[in-house]
């Protein structure tokens, strides 16, 4: 960075060094919490309290950890969908990918223990290829992703059922199903630590790391403004394609867990794409791209599942479930509406902020700081 250094050095005008962030940790947390991406955590917490008060045994660690385990697939799918949505696209093919993986597990592994590893490799390969097709269709063929993935959903679903005669042969061996069904036994407090929980945590950690990596930031920047990202040297088509691949691979992992949890069945994965999109949107991620946090998407999935459990415990007829779900997502999104920018305005702006700042000294706005700008002149 020699040029940079020399350039700035010789300018001799170096203004004050800007802080990386504004405010203390607590202030920032508070600011984060009022964004839709933060609010979903609060929503999930409220729902959790509601569920536990409706049924205290739900709050016991063993039950709780099982709940987390069973929510892992949808949370993982939601995180996969997040990559695509934040890059400005949609992935409607998730359900079909899950169904495909389930069928592969059932038909290819069967009772053959030795095929578990090759099957896993095959499933990930299939997931990657589907993501690749979605991504290339969207970026190179320039078909809107809504349409490409709708096409993949129909085509993949049809092809798999055509090739298998509509249904899988049967459940794969138990070793394979253990991934989604089993866990580490005899753990203190929890009794059992389900593998899906471990996988979920690993994927979350990996995802957070990914989103902080250059690639992750590039995904968001690309979702925000693809033209600018392209001119900044990002290969937009490949960035988006990788987002689609991450989505399909997440669906693959969800599929593997579901084979274990639920077993092989044609309706496993049905409607998962909309469930995942709902979770992502509930997590405050903006459709259209460029805004939102990965973990909020996962939190959205948990909030959704908690809501369903709450309805079960309240003995509300299960036919009303979609209605409640519909109302909730509309409310959440309406509330999120333009709340995103709230926490990120240049000045202190948590809504009830004191508008007291004297007009003469508007907080650290660009204008006040400008005085430094001209010092170099003359």
């Amino acid at each position: 960075m020699s040029a940079t250094t020399s350039v700035t050095g010789s300018g001799g005008t170096a203004g004050r060094t800007l802080p990386l962030t504004e405010g203390s940790v607590v202030q920032r947390l508070l600011r984060g919490a009022v964004t839709p991406g933060g609010a979903v955590f609060i929503l999930a917490a409220i729902l959790f309290v509601a569920v536990v008060s409706a049924n205290p045994s739900f709050g016991e660690p063993p039950q709780l950890i099982r709940f987390i385990g069973r929510t892992a697939p949808i949370a993982i799918a939601a995180m996969g969908q997040y990559y695509v949505i934040v890059s400005g696209e949609f992935d409607l093919s998730m359900g079909a990918v899950i169904a495909t993986q389930v069928v592969i597990a059932g038909n290819y592994i069967g009772d053959d223990e030795s095929r578990v590893l090759p099957a896993l490799a095959l499933m990930f390969a299939v997931g990657a290829v589907v993501g690749l097709v979605n991504g290339l269709g969207t970026t190179l063929l320039r078909v809107p992703s809504f349409i490409v993935t709708l096409g993949t959903m129909l085509a993949l679903g049809g092809l798999v059922r055509f090739l298998t005669g509509g249904a899988a042969t049967g459940n794969p061996v138990d070793t394979f199903r253990e991934i989604g069904r089993g866990g580490i036994q005899d753990v203190p407090v929890l009794e059992v630590l389900p593998y899906p929980v471990i996988i979920l945590v690993v994927i979350m950690v990996g995802g957070v790391w990914l989103m902080r990596s250059p690639f992750g930031r590039t995904i968001i920047a690309t979702g925000d403004n693809p033209d600018a990202a392209g001119l900044a040297g990002a290969h937009v088509w490949w960035v988006k394609t990788r987002a689609f691949m991450l989505s399909s691979l997440s669906a693959t992992v969800a599929g593997i867990l579901l084979v274990g949890y639920a077993g092989v069945h044609p309706s496993v994965g049905a409607g998962y794409e909309f469930q995942a999109i709902t979770a992502v949107v509930l997590g405050g991620v903006v459709l259209g791209g460029g805004r939102g946090w990965l973990l909020s998407a996962a939190a959205g999935a948990f909030a959704l599942e908690l809501l369903f459990s709450f309805l079960n415990f309240q003995e509300i007829e299960s036919t009303w479930r979609p209605t409640v779900q519909g109302v909730i997502i509309i409310l959440a999104v309406a509330a999120a509406g333009r709340a995103w920018s709230l926490g990120r305005r240049p000045t202190r702006t948590s809504p009830p902020a004191p508008p007291a700042a004297p007009p003469a000294s508007p907080a650290p706005s660009p204008t006040t700081a400008r005085s430094g700008t001209e010092t170099g002149e003359i």
Partner: protein
């Protein structure tokens, strides 16, 4: 002032030359003709006649319901929104209409009115969510669809009510055994909506808002009205489609809309018809073309007794490939100045501006 405009004029003239291309509607109908041609051959291979009375009737019938819904969907997409609730609105409309008619002709008017009014109300709610609360159309309609589906699931178990005999008669009637009445209704609606889009302020504003909501607002367009109208019309057209379905099935069914997968198929048909998914550009004529492509495709696959699973595969493939054909074309590129399409017309050296900028 003459001179600078001269330059402008020269550019205009130059550009017009290179830009002679097929417009997207023409392209869609070209694709349709191609699909029909292939179908004629394949149908003949099966020993059938594609243009036989029964086949034409079948295709036109298949177009009617999806067509009506797709027209509504076109409006909604043009205005920059999306409607995923149509299947549930359709289902709801059939049970309400059939419940209201109770199989009696005397109830037709009232039941039809109530049904369409209810659909309009649902569209209104969606439109208000989208326009006033700024909920993304995808979410608003998904949410409303879920709400309605919960209501249907809880309150209607199985088929409900009965269509009036006159309505059922309408379902079977047609012109000369070739053109079903349902298709005539579709055409009438298509013409009306096209007129609406071309010759009313509302229509102009629909395009404007879909093209750029802020620009429209700045220009004094009341953005809420067209958005709400588009959603209301879409739901009403879905209600109309439901009445057509009812005229064929004779009973209300709480799942008939989902059976037809009208949400995704109508969106696919609209996009297939050349309308931008992002809004602001497209036409009902194109949409009808898109619907026709689907109908012909389904028809020929039916005649060939294609495995039902494989049908979905083909549908998916066709959607992506067909849209790819014109999605690539509609990407705006500046017309190249040099090379093959370099404008031949070259106006002689332009005169400079009358007043030169003074040097500072």
């Amino acid at each position: 002032m003459a001179e600078p405009t001269e330059v402008v004029r020269r550019r205009r003239a130059a550009r017009a030359k290179g830009a002679k291309r097929l417009d997207s509607t023409a392209l869609i109908y070209l694709v349709l003709v191609g699909v029909i041609a292939a179908s004629v051959v394949l149908t003949a291979v099966e020993g059938r006649n594609f243009f036989s009375q029964g086949n034409v009737w079948a295709i036109l019938t298949a177009m009617s319901v999806l067509g009506l819904i797709a027209i509504g969907q076109t409006l909604v997409i043009l205005v920059g929104s999306l409607d995923l609730s149509v299947p549930y609105v359709v289902s709801l409309a059939t049970v309400i209409a059939a419940g209201g008619m109770k199989g009696l002709d005397g109830n037709i008017a009232a039941a039809t009115f109530n049904t369409l009014a209810l659909c309009a109300a649902i569209g209104l709610v969606m439109g208000l969510l989208v326009s006033l609360l700024h909920v993304h159309g995808f979410i608003a309609s998904l949410g409303i669809g879920l709400v309605v589906s919960g209501y249907l699931g809880t309150n209607y178990q199985g088929s409900h009510g009965a269509a009036a005999p006159d309505l059922r008669l309408l379902g079977r009637s047609g012109i000369g055994g070739w053109i079903p009445t349902a298709f005539v209704i579709l055409l009438v609606c298509a013409v009306l909506v096209t007129l609406l889009l071309r010759y009313t302020r509302l229509g102009h504003h629909v395009y404007a808002i879909g093209g750029n909501r802020d620009v429209a607002r700045m220009s004094g367009v009341r953005t809420a009205l067209p958005v709400v109208s588009a959603h209301v019309l879409c739901s009403v057209l879905a209600g109309l489609a439901a009445l057509l379905l009812l005229s064929r099935t004779g009973v209300g069914s709480p799942t008939i809309g989902s059976q037809g997968r009208y949400d995704l198929l109508s969106i696919a048909a609209v996009v297939l018809g050349g309308t931008l998914l992002a809004g602001g550009k497209g036409s009902v004529v194109g949409t009808i073309g898109g619907v026709a492509i689907f109908a012909v495709l389904d028809n020929v696959m039916g005649v060939m007794q294609v495995n039902p699973f494989l049908k979905d595969f083909v549908r998916g493939l066709v959607i992506v490939l067909a849209v790819a054909v014109y999605a690539r074309r509609s990407v705006v590129r500046r017309p190249p100045r040099f090379g093959a399409s370099r404008p031949v017309l070259h106006v002689p050296s332009p005169t400079g501006p009358s007043t030169k900028g003074e040097s500072a």
